[in-house]
């Protein structure tokens, strides 16, 4: 099961849950599963966050695969200068 | 306001143009004569991007009125290379990667030429102080100084 970690601003929607185990094949799949647990959270995730899957940061994730042992962190989107 | 007719020699070529009395040499070079190699960075004489040589003397063309060029000689970046060949200063800038965005490069090349015309064997400190009127925001000046040192050596006929 992939481990998902929520940053502080999303914990308001997860009732304080910081870490969760979820089975998902892709980021899209993961968000769908999270939406079932925390209705409304998908609006804050699709097109709004970057994600680090196993340490690789992806800007605007969607179809990116999530493995059975993946660690998934949601991040503020940072571009740079 | 009626325009003034000015005759001047730019990069060895006789030129004439009409300009308003308050127009800077920089504006006329770029907008009237199409010589856009000389750049505007500040128009107040602080950045050196507009460096040209007036009768062999290094100046900021933004601080000179175009009418002042009447009967005089100007060298701009377009006049530094000769035909097919780059000037050694230009070659060394390329070899030493002494430019990143390149906007300050024309000014530096002209300023470096003015320096080496006058002082063929400058110390690092002399180079830095002579070029202190040319701002570069990309390189930190390190590779520019090295390029000028190397160009000086080449111009003195020494192996580099």
């Amino acid at each position: 099961m992939a481990k998902v970690f929520f940053p502080d601003h999303l914990m308001q929607l997860t009732a304080g849950v910081r870490e969760l185990e979820v089975h998902a094949e892709s980021f899209r799949d993961l968000v769908a599963k999270l939406e079932q647990l925390y209705p409304g959270i998908s609006k804050l995730l699709i097109g709004k966050v970057a994600v680090a899957i196993d340490g690789d940061i992806i800007h605007d994730p969607f179809l990116d695969p999530v493995g059975p042992d993946s660690e998934v962190y949601f991040l503020h989107r940072i571009e740079g200068g | 306001m009626s325009k003034t007719r000015v005759e001047t020699k730019i990069n060895g070529e006789q030129m004439e143009f009409l300009c308003e009395p308050q127009q800077s040499m920089l504006d006329v070079l770029r907008d009237t004569l199409g010589l856009t190699g000389t750049k505007e960075g500040c128009a107040t004489g602080d950045c050196g991007a507009c460096s040209v040589m007036l009768d062999g003397r290094l100046i900021c063309s933004c601080l000179m009125l175009a009418v002042e060029s009447n009967g005089r000689q100007l060298t701009t970046i377009e006049g530094i290379s000769r035909g097919e060949t780059l000037h050694p200063i230009q070659q060394k800038f390329l070899q030493h990667a002494a430019l990143q965005c390149g906007i300050c490069t024309p000014g530096f090349v002209v300023a470096a030429k003015a320096l080496l015309d006058e002082n063929p064997n400058p110390t690092e400190e002399e180079i830095r102080y002579h070029l202190a009127g040319n701002l570069c925001r990309c390189t930190g000046y390190d590779k520019i100084i090295r390029a000028v040192q190397d160009a000086a050596q080449t111009l003195r006929g020494e192996a580099s």
């Binding site: 690789d56 740079g80 200068g81 | 960075g41 990667a97 990143q100 024309p106 102080y129 925001r137």
Partner: protein
């Protein structure tokens, strides 16, 4: 993905392909472009830092001979609130639109309120002078302390602080609050043997690119437009301009000129929509350039900040807890670099317990834009200064203190995920061994050290590789070349294809002939656009193998590509000579058509970059002037594609950081008017201010890139601020926490210490 290999051209110091035009003045930058029939546009700017616009009267200006168009906020459509994607300060399109042209309010001195297009600049100036505007002046809010105070004058009366634990009930100048936590901060400090804290301030500074913003816009009566401009991202110019003007992106072609510096400040738009509306109204092309004065007053500087840091540590130097309170000025609209600043502040260290609180604060200054590792220089300046004091207090060498707590592969980053392979420890070890670390110092001299970090971005890039009929290679990509990236693209294409560097040309194409590309910035071009070029070259190789196979009458999977040639795989029975790229290209019409390779991607796996900088300074006790005697920049580049350009990034960033530490700041009067809007008094380092900048490139390959590349462009500006400040501390014995460490500030501190 990356394995150690012998590179043929990667890592060599080739001359860049666009260099000759740049040393001869032929290269065209933003202001070098002109069109027949072109008009000159000029912008009228608010004389007040904070005011309501009551009335604009353009009648007198319209009567001036040679004036062809006048526009105000009324000529721009209303834009709805929508988050600007990918920005480090979550900006808003509605704010972007009103920043480009004010509607009912001005929120900084210099805010655009009207614009004209005229036959000459002189006539345009006369027209601006003839425009009459009635303002209702409001009290300017000029610093974050004033802005955050109870009963502060509000800059946006409809703004409520986002992100507070309990929903805000009163409007505020604080646009957003953010928190990042790990563990139990109270417990962490309780476990400490030593606790240190400090409050640090950094001023508003500018990226200082030598080329002012410039554009030419030409829109025809059918609504199709072309914009020539200097920009770090022409696809962003297109999308942002289309949003601000309510246009179809397909109707706007943006052609990027060469760009005379950006550093993040040219990742947004200011002039382009204005030039477009003037062009539409006048029916002519319109050119607008900013003066240097306008660049300072009305583009996007970097946030001034106040950062309070607290660190708890054991006697042996192990960090137990860290906390940060970070307030960043956003300018007249929300969206500072507070979030990345908060994510970077503790990024180099293993910290079991931390609490980071960040505030995005409105003030009546120009809306900030990105500046090279946006947010990180300010917050890490504070943390690295405090770590220096901690090292002194614990009597531990500052490198050893950092080594004790340094992250490495598998460490949990303070911003969340585990790091893959990173090179922070390697930079620290290199610093320890570096001869500059032990050079002798004289009276009034001191040495300071600090760490730097940046995530580095991936994001979207597209590339095509065309093989010309003589086997030469044209790479078509869409990343404006700020620092020599064409050379790196050519090196990567040459390496992949197995051809000499000299056989490769690189074109930076516009929005109509390049595939979509995100901005040149974020230290992403060598990494992400490079990856697209590598993949497009790989596509060519696949096609070449197919063409060779067809020519030889064997299966394509029996063909190898080696040193620029197709050869049968070892053991394959085929009596054929190798086919070079040139031969395959010459024959391509007969074997299937032109050879065109392509790739587009959303690059993942950008590798974070770490650095260590060391500065030696001498402080003149009589004047407070700080001279930089020696500067050493050590940085992990993963793999340096072109070492000279990597060094160039390190040296350029060092110079900017040194300027930020020692001299640069926006100085305002009590009316909120900038007093030093020129290069004379906004004092950036010149050649005589700096020594040679020693560099050492560390290479801990990024496992997610075929060559191991990490972005390098932004990390270099982060560490110099604290490296210089720590050197001044060492030289004088006094910690001066507020930047810049300009002579008056240093002298005052020296004299206060004597008293």
């Amino acid at each position: 993905m990356s394995e150690a290999r012998d590179y043929k051209v990667i890592g060599t110091r080739v001359v860049r392909p666009d260099g000759v035009d740049k040393v001869t003045g032929r290269a065209n930058f933003g202001a070098d472009f002109s069109l027949p029939g072109m008009l000159y546009g000029k912008v009228l700017r608010s004389p007040h830092a904070h005011a309501r616009i009551k009335k604009i009267d353009t009648a007198a200006a319209a009567k001036i001979e040679g004036v062809y168009a006048i526009v105000t906020g009324a000529d721009f459509p209303k834009v709805g609130h929508e988050e600007i994607t990918g920005g480090e300060g979550a900006g808003d399109f509605a704010d972007l639109a009103t920043n480009v042209m004010a509607r009912d309010k001005v929120v900084y001195h210099g805010h655009a309120v009207a614009a004209v297009a005229a036959q000459t600049s002189a006539i345009a100036d006369a027209a601006l002078a003839a425009i009459k505007i009635d303002y209702e002046r409001l009290a300017p809010v000029m610093d974050l302390d004033t802005a955050m105070a109870d009963n502060a004058t509000l800059i946006d009366e409809r703004l409520f602080t986002a992100g507070l634990p309990e929903k805000a009930t009163k409007p505020s100048n604080v646009a957003a609050y953010m928190e990042f936590k790990r563990g139990d901060i109270a417990q962490g400090f309780a476990e400490a043997d030593v606790v240190v804290e400090g409050t640090y301030r950094t001023p508003t500074v500018h990226q200082g690119y030598i080329e002012p913003h410039a554009c030419v816009a030409s829109i025809n009566q059918g609504g199709q437009a072309t914009i020539w401009c200097c920009t770090q991202g022409h696809f962003d110019v297109r999308s942002m301009t289309s949003k601000v003007l309510g246009m179809n992106v397909a109707d706007i072609r943006v052609i990027p000129s060469e760009i005379g510096g950006g550093f993040g400040g040219k990742t947004t738009i200011y002039l382009e929509p204005v030039a477009m509306v003037l062009s539409k109204k006048s029916g002519r092309p319109v050119k607008i350039t900013m003066t240097r004065d306008e660049v300072f007053r009305a583009s996007g500087p970097a946030s001034a900040t106040k950062c309070k840091i607290k660190i708890g540590a054991k006697k042996d130097g192990t960090f137990t807890a860290m906390s940060a309170w970070l307030a960043y000025e956003a300018g007249g609209y929300k969206g500072s670099s507070m979030a990345p600043g908060a994510m970077c502040v503790f990024a180099p260290y293993v910290v079991p317990h931390f609490l980071i609180q960040g505030y995005d604060v409105l003030v009546n200054k120009p809306k900030v834009a990105a500046y090279r590792a946006p947010g990180a220089p300010q917050s890490m300046y504070a943390c690295e200064s405090l770590i220096d004091d901690l090292a002194r207090q614990l009597k531990i060498d500052p490198i050893d203190l950092r080594l004790k707590n340094a992250v490495s592969a598998g460490s949990q980053a303070a911003y969340g995920p585990k790091y893959n392979a990173v090179g922070f420890k390697e930079c620290l070890e290199a610093a320890k061994k570096h001869p500059n670390y032990t050079k002798k110092l004289g009276p009034n001299e001191g040495r300071g050290l600090a760490a730097g970090f940046w995530f580095n971005a991936g994001m979207q890039s597209s590339a095509e590789v065309h093989i010309n009929e003589n086997g030469t290679v044209t790479v078509v990509e869409g990343s404006p070349d700020i620092g020599g990236s064409r050379a790196s693209m050519a090196l990567m294409a040459a390496e992949e294809l197995g051809v000499p560097y000299e056989r490769v040309r690189v074109v930076v194409a516009d929005t109509e002939n390049a595939g979509y590309n995100n901005v040149t910035g974020g230290s992403r071009v060598t990494f992400a656009t490079g990856m697209a070029v590598i993949q497009a070259a790989g596509d060519i190789i696949t096609q070449c193998k197919q063409r060779a196979a067809a020519t030889w009458g064997i299966e394509a999977d029996l063909v190898d590509w080696k040193d620029g040639q197709a050869i049968p795989k070892p053991g394959v029975n085929a009596d054929v000579k190798p086919l070079t790229l040139a031969q395959i290209a010459a024959n391509s019409g007969r074997t299937g058509g032109p050879l065109l390779g392509r790739a587009s991607l959303n690059a993942r796996g950008a590798g974070p970059g770490f650095s260590i900088n060391m500065a030696d300074v001498r402080v003149d006790p009589e004047t407070g002037k700080v001279d930089v005697l020696r500067f050493t920049a050590i940085q992990d580049a993963g793999k340096a594609i072109h070492p000279a350009y990597v060094e160039g990034q390190m040296q350029g960033g060092a110079a900017q950081g040194i300027g930020w530490a020692l001299n640069e700041e926006y100085i305002y009067d009590s009316n909120g008017v900038m007093q030093n809007a020129g290069f004379l008094d906004y004092r950036m380092p010149v050649a005589s201010d700096l020594p040679m900048i020693d560099t050492q490139i560390i290479e801990v390959p990024n496992p997610s890139h075929p060559y191991g590349v990490r972005g390098v462009g932004e990390v270099p500006i982060v560490a110099p601020l604290a490296a210089v400040a720590n050197a001044v501390r060492a030289a004088t014995g006094i910690r001066i926490p507020d930047l810049p460490l300009s002579p008056p500030r240093v002298l005052a501190a020296l004299e206060a210490a004597k008293a």
